[in-house]
Symmetry: C3
Subunit: 660 residues, 3 copies
């Protein structure tokens, strides 16, 4: 890894005859595939009965691939324990929130915290690492597959026991738990840790602390399992390890990737939701900073299962996706899947080849990607993505808080994507930054939808402000404590002092006729909102008109150190206000990494020893244009490109190199 | 009680530090709060481990309040049994209709019929009554909290056993049950009472009798628990006892309040559903006739939980609500809650103070209520609501019948509110009258949505008619027997003879193109309907045009004694016909307690030794007007008011005193 | 049977007093009822305690009916086992897909595979057959009632065991099962048959083979139960046996009727869905070819239960339904039910008499049916329905495949009805033909929505083509193997070779902007689609414009033998294209049994020794017309009718006899 751009596919050699495998490999070469991922569901092929492990088949397959110049990412097969593990063992299975015990026959049906599961998973993974680790063409590892994609927090008896241990560790005494959770409410108070329930069926909602902590417990436990597995692999292999995750799964990605070597994600965003696709790239680049990420799975055309299908991509879109990914920091762009499934429950899913070995409707697009990959590889390998000066905070812990407290069916991913899209369309280059990331090098930090702002985060953000940064906080940020209770000193706790604004009221603003006016725009305000009275030198930048609180501020700013803290108390529901706000503070903060690219087209700025590179990609199929600040050279054709307006056609891309 | 208007709030002193409590009490005084309700969820604070009861904290709190001139309504804490009661005891827990056993951690999680629950509830309530009963400032009691708000009919084994006992008592022999329920159908027939199931999961619907009787059984059992608790309190206290109920809960309010001392309700109707708010007032006034009711809970601004929120009230609406309530017979107008919850699952709910002790968005409205309360108190205390001459029948047993047989997702509350609203907008003063109430003093009785008309009710209604009353029956009234079967002599049983009309057909009229014409209006007819052939001197007042039954009557009347029986077979779907019908029969019946008030504004007529008082309140925020029949005096300002048109501004009120 | 047209009703004499029964019989005669169906829910009346069987009551009732000239269809009462069977025996009960065990009190609550159930069912049925079989007026038998109407595939332990047996029989070895199902996917692989689960709750979808096979297993088992029961009856009675089924139930009707004597169905299609009503007639005629079918249940006006109701029929529609049924091959047209239920859960259901013994809103329509029945009987008895030349394939196995793989909530019945309606409105006389039926005599075969085309079916269809037939296959046909996996040689397997077209791609076409152009029409294409490249002499008849695959064919044809194979790869979403296609190929195939009847009116052609009869019925209430090819005679009035245009009024009918 690290010396080429990868173009890959997931492959299930254990499901096909040898002749098919040969044909597959031949066609991979023709399609420009240089890496495959294998093994993640193959436990029963590797260990058909308990203890009878043989990995010869996979060793052979990897060697066959290698002989054709194709490298391998090897997976552990733990999402699908075999029947010898599950049969007759309901106590090993996942239990859902309705207390239903899962049966064999899908995936993620086992509880990953079950001790026997952990033991058997360790055995198979050690065997794989030992057998496959030495193979030179194995360039990386993937642990398991899409943790917690189909399931969330298990309610089995093992989890109940571990939950009690986790609570004991977190709180020390049950009285501290009671106090932290406000458990005197509704006589919830526990006398010992082993009385604390899982958030199982109840007549009404559970205590918010219980609901959120159970999610954080589950987040930690799945990461712990991942760490255990990685440790085993590292005994036998130096190849880097990842997991294919997503913002949609019930995991804390920042924690999950902490002890892994590189970050990767799966994405099935449809073409008309390209902002979400870009958000993923801008986020995953930052889970392992300085190290390229992988797109481990995406469809050549459409996602589907027996029960659903997505709209297939228009022709041309796939290449736009791939080029955008490489430009934004992806080392690999991989399909799920190479050859369409003939059985199971995902037969209708898009693939590169059909079950009968012919090109699919996406195939021509795959060839376009192969060509583009090769064309841009030199420019990509000689540069790296520029760090943005604008960052938007991202937190999967916030996702847990919002699952506990969705107000009105709020969805974390949709909220975050919506906010991100406002930044995207301004033409500002941006990072989506995990909560725990360093803020060095940024000028504008936007922190929406973070119900709990940790003391640590607050320190870091304030330091950032003191150094000259502008920090925009909100909406829906800061109003909850670490324990998912409310602050009792001020709506936003200590943040209010720093921001120089008192939260006068918090309430649901939707439908109250409240209009926010700022930066020359006036839009209805929405979501659970806070309205402020500036003090201590802070000023109201946006004021509410009408509604219940006319004249109060929904937007304040205060100079702090060299920078500013900006509180945003409500979500402007229109198209103008939030964009204007972002541009305004980007200007104030002196953000320069930005372009005047038209909406629907992106510029990914990269930098290297020999100068900068801009990758311009049209994502919306309408074509677009961008103004080049200087003359450059088309890195693909080698032709000179003049300064000034550059047009890109529908789903087209340009790689412009600016000499130093 | 009985000598002031109360303005109160629910308060949870067990959740806060002493300093907060002092601050709270101080602010209560400033906000004009003169009563607080405490204790309803505090079981674990009172009895943290089984048998270790201490009530000193609550005694002290009540004394602190009293010292500041604030009286107390004390609650029993039985909705939230502590962990020592629930842990390890699934057999004590509520079982829902999917047969899921509830866990600890919300409220109403225990089965209120469980013998151990009853025993432990009796112990804690007796301890409370003993300790708190002697305190002079305890002016009333509330048993438990919102019975059956989150749950309905429990399916636990205790309930199964009690159900069999209840059936044995009701039917004597199982053969009588079989006959009453028509249990030969589908071979349901039981050989002994202990074979009769609860209405648990089945491939299709249960027998209507089983479904309805199980609800009536549950109604009776929860009232029985309430009675048991009240009896214990009365051993130690003379203060009156209530329960905070609602039409939305799975209880029979008439039965529930039968042995309590005063009636109270909780309401979270949004401002644009003010007719439902008024319906509640017009109904609760009649559960304990001659005794003022309490609004025990309403929000200063909006209801909310972790998962939802309502639109907050516009400024001004809260005072309109309060004045309307006092005028319509409320002795108290109380908020839920005083200080916003910092934990649990209702943190976003509207309150008077925030968790950090500051005024909320509703606070200014609370001050307006405090001012209005004081201003109108003399006029209220010197008068009582006039009995209406128009009554609409209300029955929670009917609610059970409609839950069993919703036809097409009919909802009892929505139906009743819709019908009530038609009366409201005519300007007629009205009572919403529990099924079992005396009909003395009324001139027009409207009885819609009462599937079963009991023999007793029929006798009373007929006597009312014979004395000169007009009784309008229907739609959806009278077609079911006591056992929720059909009559076999005539669609409406004996009622048909009395009403002089034969039901020719019953069928679903929606979408058949049936138009009803009467009183100069013509509107589509809807709902499950009956069409009539008048006979025995009855006449068709409204006739169906088009549809399946052109020429038949949907509305007949017959003179009976001094009065009339009017059958209404279908629901007119427009705005005119039903209002015209109501006004027509009010005229015929000689109803005089009425005003020409504009829609959206109400007049609450009151009467006293010194004359009458009209309270005029604008409820819809559009302002309105009413014609005063005589000159009077503004009871708040003391100014003379001329006869003729009186205007009231947006959400404003006027109290006009007419001297005798 | 076989010598009259029946007009009947379902009757529940066990629920009523003797006097009511006498009144009922008297009114049946007046209403022209000549057959009643009894007994299907009466197990507890026949065997109130285990083993205590008495059938005297039913013998008497049948004799009473017979004395009034009314014949009887006797039912077995197995859908409703009595309380002595169910109480205390959860292991005998049906278990639903959420693993909930059903309780007593509805119907179909027992598992029909339970050994004790089978034993008790055999005992009661043998007793009934012995007692009732000898009665001369018993002209037929109905086994049970509406198998699998409320339930689907049971998940009890008995079924689990039988499932394993069924699998062992089907596959021989578990390795063959693993191979057939592709069970290496997701490590599903089983080591023994007894490890194969039922498709119970799992984190995501089950393997398609598992899901579909479990349905086919259930299909087989319920038919096996039916066969067992029929065998018992045949020991004592020669009267023909049927079951009242539906396309909506979870059964394979072709298999179910295989060993029964005549076919019957229940239908509650609303008047505005008359195409579905006609589809049923055109289908049921073909389950037992050459033998008239029965409509065993339909409502005189509307279907309803406690929780729902349908729009009642407009006056006149019922007669149109009845005449259409008789004309299309029904020997009987029977109501559910004679007298409205007074108890249970279907009290609001339409009936002939009310609970109080009076005519219902449908009664006048019943009299019209009685009159029409008599009027058309001679013409019907002297002719039989002409076999159509156009057939549409129907398969309940396909229904199972689509339940497993609904793509986007596709519903088999809705799809099939939609396609059928396109044929109907062309005026072509058509048969809806069970998958296994002979194709002799047909000229055009349409096979849409048949995911798996069996080898046997393919042989038969090809032979049909070779003899000169035109076979139109698709959409959604042929893409799945017998095991519900994908073909690995070509998208449509061997069919492609025969059809001379290669499937280039399959993908979801909705929303891709793909337009299909053929026969002068251009319409958006929808559903999961296949696009083709013709080869081997096949030609593209319809081509895709726009979308992902412009220029490829969605419609190809190839001459094969004397006929043609036409592949239809997508569903045209408009009104024109598919109709044009059908007419085009009907023309090509030389279809002559067709009329130019206007949309909304049908012609049912019949033929007999003395010539042909056309029954013309207006079904849509708008009236219509048809061109008579020759002069004829009105078979009801005896009047001469000229060749040329014949008009029929709203819901009217004409029976035209053309002399030989």
């Amino acid at each position: 890894m690290g010396n080429k751009l990868y173009h890959g596919a997931a492959w299930y050699p254990e499901l096909w005859e040898p002749a098919v495998l040969e044909q597959d490999i031949e066609q991979m070469k023709q399609a420009g595939i240089n890496v495959v991922r294998i093994g993640e569901f193959a436990w029963s092929a590797m260990e058909p009965t308990e203890g009878a492990i043989s990995l010869d088949f996979f060793v052979n397959v990897i060697q066959q691939l290698s002989a054709s110049g194709i490298e391998t990412v090897m997976c552990t097969p733990t999402p699908t324990p075999p029947i010898w593990f599950t049969h007759g063992h309901p106590e090993r299975m996942y239990v859902n929130e309705q207390m239903q015990v899962m049966g064999h026959g899908s995936r993620q049906h086992a509880c990953t915290n079950n001790a026997v599961f952990r033991e058997k998973a360790a055995i198979i993974t050690e065997a794989i690492a030992k057998a496959i680790g030495p193979l030179a063409s194995v360039i990386g590892w993937q642990i398991d597959n899409e943790f917690k994609a189909h399931v969330a927090e298990c309610r089995c008896q093992t989890c109940l026991h571990l939950w009690h241990e986790w609570l004991a560790e977190r709180y020390g005494t049950v009285d501290k738990l009671n106090e932290a959770w406000g458990a005197d409410i509704w006589s919830e108070r526990y006398l010992s840790f082993d009385q604390v329930p899982q958030p199982n069926p109840a007549p009404f909602l559970h205590n918010s602390s219980l609901s959120t902590m159970y999610q954080l417990f589950s987040y930690e436990k799945i990461a712990e399992f991942c760490d255990e597995q990685a440790k085993i692999i590292r005994k036998y292999s130096d190849a880097p390890i990842t997991h294919n995750s997503s913002v949609a799964f019930h995991v804390d990605n920042e924690r999950l990737f902490r002890d892994l070597d590189f970050a990767s994600f799966d994405t099935y965003a449809t073409w008309d939701n390209y902002p979400n696709y870009l958000l993923n790239n801008d986020l995953w680049r930052n889970f392992k900073q300085g190290r390229d990420f992988w797109i481990m799975e995406t469809s050549p055309s459409h996602a589907a299962s027996l029960e659903s299908y997505a709209k297939p991509h228009p022709n041309g879109y796939l290449r736009a996706e791939a080029v955008a990914a490489y430009a934004l920091g992806a080392e690999a762009f991989c399909y799920w899947l190479w050859r369409q499934q003939r059985a199971g429950c995902e037969q209708p899913h898009g693939s590169v080849l059909s079950t009968w070995g012919k090109p699919t409707v996406g195939f021509a697009n795959v060839l376009e990607v192969a060509e583009a990959r090769a064309a841009i590889e030199p420019a990509m390998l000689s540069t790296r993505p520029r760090q943005a000066e604008v960052a938007m905070t991202y937190s999967d812990r916030a996702k847990a808080f919002l699952k506990t407290e969705p107000h009105q069916k709020l969805n974390h991913r949709a909220l975050v994507t919506d906010f991100y899209e406002r930044i995207l369309h301004t033409g500002l280059h941006r990072d989506v930054l995990p909560e725990g990331s360093s803020l060095d090098g940024y000028k504008l930090l936007l922190t929406p939808f973070l119900p709990h702002i940790s003391a640590e985060f607050l320190e870091r953000a304030i330091a950032f402000v003191e150094r000259g940064g502008v920090w925009v906080v909100g909406p829906l940020s800061g109003g909850r404590t670490e324990e998912h209770t409310l602050h009792t000193d001020a709506a936003l706790g200590r943040l209010e002092q720093l921001a120089g604004a008192e939260t006068v009221y918090t309430f649901p603003m939707d439908g109250t006729g409240s209009i926010g006016r700022a930066f020359g725009a006036a839009e209805p305000l929405s979501l659970w909102s806070a309205v402020f009275a500036p003090q201590d030198g802070a000023v109201a930048v946006g004021t509410v008109e009408g509604g219940l609180t006319p004249g109060l501020a929904f937007l304040t700013e205060k100079t702090h150190g060299q920078g500013k803290i900006v509180l945003l108390g409500a979500m402007p529901a229109g198209e103008q206000l939030l964009s204007a706000l972002i541009v305004h503070y980007a200007d104030e903060a002196g953000v320069t990494v930005r372009t005047d690219v038209t909406k629907g087209t992106i510029v990914a700025p990269r930098t290297g020893e020999d100068g900068d590179v801009w990758v311009v990609v049209n994502m919306d199929g309408a074509g677009g244009r961008v103004t080049l600040p200087a003359a450059g050279r088309d890195a693909v054709t080698g032709e000179a490109v003049a300064a000034g307006v550059l047009k890109v056609a529908r789903y087209a891309y340009k790689v412009i190199r600016f000499e130093k």
